[in-house]
């Protein structure tokens, strides 16, 4: 059995179904519907057509030599999920699950969201298919992602701010599960990532694996070879599983997941689940988890709402446990620095989530050297993060006027990251140009 053909409910010791009995019938119904759908040419054709005519698939790849000059001279190639309709990879999964919802005859969908990307994608699919839609979002996140809240409401979705617990993604999932337990007869839960109870980890991965399938062919066509390494950010881990999956059995291709280290993995403000957690149960699956000695979930922290999650998908825990993929932490500061570097060298503003993968690629490139090709999942665009970036880099007129030097280095977030980025404009490529 190859790594690619692994299915749920268990990936090694990870996965399963740790949910109230009330949800089992719905999970079984979803599993059966999905098994039938994935072998139904009508379903796969409809999904592929939506990909072509609605999402904009295949997404392109972009080689970024001016950015790569900061990555030890490695070639860096971006898989541009940021160019998808709604601005991230989340739409791939949501269209698949919305089609499944129609297939099982339910008329209402619910979703959790952190950064708001999955919520926006779900609200979009609900509008497209005429489904009722409720999105649960932690209050902290509705504040830091106000623009996405407005987008969801404009699309006709009800957005419910969740005030319980840490008021972030984990609590939004709890509240969505409570809604689902109550309204399961009419409602389908469009889970946003490769976590949660079976069949979600496998189902979401399969709707996202098109990222890696396309990218593998595209990189081969561009360079004549498979990449040396694939890099992706990991919160729950759906874009990472999506881009990793096609490469799982290419054992020469190194897979790197970059977790949010927040203010540092040695502080208590991070979201580096595999780096610092241990196996436990959260949201229906056994996986790595940030938890106290007692097993209480610990609140995570990241500047990126989409990575601010104390759990991770079980397939990632499995890949880490067998050594097939390597997971490393990236701090807020390093991610923000990489976000600015890509913006200035290539004219592409990434989501803060994706900037963690970019920061990781800069580090990897310096380790692997000029012969390496690094494929990076650019999972989303940065439009939603402009308020955070404006504050972080002091980019507003008021901030610029109060600081003598325009575009001064960040005044918060600690020391400059290890990745060297010139703090003044214009940015110079200090390291050797990629040839």
């Amino acid at each position: 059995m190859t790594l690619r053909t692994q299915t749920g409910p268990y990936f090694g010791d990870f996965g399963g179904r740790f949910v109230p009995e009330s949800l089992i019938a719905a999970l079984d119904e979803l599993t059966v519907a999905y098994e039938a759908a994935k072998n139904d040419p009508m379903f796969t054709a409809e999904l592929a057509e939506l990909g072509r005519t609605y999402t904009g698939r295949p997404s392109i790849i972009t080689e970024v030599p001016r950015f790569a000059a900061h990555a030890g001279g490695s070639r860096v190639i971006l898989k541009r999920e940021d160019l998808n309709h709604t601005g991230s990879h989340k739409i791939n999964n949501v269209l698949g699950q919305a089609l499944l919802t129609k297939r099982i005859g339910k008329h209402r969908v619910i979703a959790e969201t952190g950064a708001g990307q999955h919520g926006v994608a779900t609200a979009t699919a609900a509008a497209l298919f005429g489904l009722e839609c409720t999105v649960y979002m932690g209050e902290v996140d509705t504040e830091r992602q106000a623009l996405n809240v407005a987008r969801m409401r404009l699309l006709g979705a009800e957005v419910v701010p969740v005030a319980a617990g840490s008021r972030t993604l984990k609590d939004a999932i709890n509240e969505a599960m409570r809604d689902w337990v109550t309204n399961v007869a009419t409602t389908n839960y469009l889970f946003g990532t490769v976590a949660g109870p079976h069949p979600f980890p496998e189902l979401v991965r399969n709707f996202q694996k098109i990222i890696g399938e396309e990218a593998r062919e595209q990189v081969l066509a561009l360079t004549g070879a498979l990449p040396t390494a694939v890099a992706a950010c990991v919160g729950g881990g759906s874009n990472a599983m999506g881009i990793f999956h096609a490469f799982l059995d290419d054992l020469d291709v190194a897979l790197y997941g970059f977790e949010a280290a927040g203010e540092g993995v040695d502080t208590d403000r991070h979201a580096a689940t595999i780096t610092r957690g241990r196996p436990g149960i959260l949201h229906g699956a056994r996986s790595f988890l940030l938890q106290s000695e007692d097993g209480q979930t610990i609140e995570s922290h990241s500047i990126s709402a989409g990575l601010d999650y104390p759990g991770v998908g079980p397939e990632h825990s499995w890949l880490a446990s067998i050594g097939r993929a390597c997971y490393r932490p990236v701090t807020d500061a390093a991610a923000m620095s990489a976000l600015r570097l890509l913006s200035r060298t290539e004219g592409i503003i990434p989501a803060i989530e994706s900037a963690h993968a970019l920061a990781g690629a800069l580090q990897l490139g310096r380790e692997l050297g000029p012969t390496a090709t690094i494929l990076v999942s650019l999972s989303g665009r940065g439009d939603k993060d402009m308020e955070t970036a404006a504050e972080y880099f002091q980019l507003t007129d008021a901030a610029v006027q109060s600081n003598a030097a325009p575009l001064a280095p960040p005044t918060r977030g600690g020391a400059l990251p290890t990745v060297a980025v010139s703090p003044t404009y214009p940015l110079t490529t200090a390291e050797g140009d990629h040839s």
């Binding site: 740790f18 009995e21 009330s22 089992i24 019938a25 617990g165 609590d171 409570r178 337990v181 149960i281």
Partner: protein, 268 residues
């Protein structure tokens, strides 16, 4: 000292049946509002007619619980509740009253304590067993082995949406009683306990359940009486927690006494 009295849930339900009545099961979270008061409140429940205690372990992500129980358990965590304190609480309760004490816990807390160690500590404290709201029998092999080794009761849930096959599995896996979820939803008082509960209890009986107790949404003596017309036990949670939160230990005792009057009517 009553610690040596056998405290299985099954023996209590058998006794209630012999008395031609149903059992009243009362839920309170341990550590709320303080550890001492949660012990006093649990004792007050039994002194006022509760037959079986269900002691909830506060957990950071209680997906089966509504706002009242969430508020209480999160407050217990915020004031420093630690899991091992439940064993001390059970020991203090079982020293004072004879009712069996089941612990209602989300599974990760047991997993992190160690399933076998949890079972041993529970036995040592005089506890009767576990109610596991997010553990289905398919995932419970380690707990089934540990409870078989120690003789602890294990209560799995059955839902109106469960297939007949799954009900049979829940009945086979459970010891003590099967927890019949009255309605599709989470904990919290409701005006109408769903008619789905009656159907579910009938289906459980056909699946061979020796005892089924109904929970979710029961908050009045009248509802207790209705439920005990067809089920072996009625489980009350949020209403008791609300009384404790609002008016303290004495109020919980009064509410328990009122609910217990619902167990005395002739069975239908």
């Amino acid at each position: 000292m009553m610690a040596n009295t056998p405290r299985t849930v099954g023996s209590v339900i058998t006794r209630c049946t012999a008395e031609r009545r149903g059992a009243l099961i009362g839920y309170l979270p341990v550590g709320f509002p303080t550890l001492d008061e949660s012990v006093d409140a649990a004792v007050a429940l039994v002194e006022n007619g509760v037959d079986i205690l269900e002691l909830g372990l506060p957990y950071s992500d209680p997906v089966m619980d509504g706002p009242v129980i969430q508020r209480a358990t999160l407050q217990a965590l915020a004031t420093g509740f630690r899991v091992p304190q439940v064993f001390a609480a059970i020991a203090r309760i079982t020293e004072q009253v004879a009712a069996p004490v089941l612990v209602m816990t989300y599974w990760n807390l047991v997993l992190q304590h160690g399933v076998n160690r949890f079972a041993d500590d529970l036995v040592a404290a005089g506890g009767a067993g576990l109610i596991t709201p997010d553990l289905i029998p398919e995932e419970a092999a380690e707990w089934i082995a540990a409870s078989d080794r120690t003789g602890l009761d294990r209560v799995f849930l059955a839902a109106p949406s469960s297939t007949d096959e799954r009900l049979t599995q829940a009945v086979a896996a459970s010891r003590g009683f099967v927890y019949a979820v009255s309605t599709m939803g989470i904990t919290g008082a409701r005006n109408d306990v769903d008619t789905a509960a009656r159907t579910l209890v009938e289906r459980l009986r056909r699946a061979g359940a020796p005892a089924s107790c109904v929970g979710l949404g029961i908050s009045t003596a009248e509802q207790v009486r209705d439920v005990l017309g067809y089920a072996d036990g009625a489980i009350v949670g949020s209403a008791l927690v609300d009384a404790l939160m609002t008016d303290g230990v004495a109020a919980v005792g009064e509410l328990a006494a009122s609910l217990a009057r619902g167990t005395r009517a002739d069975r239908g």
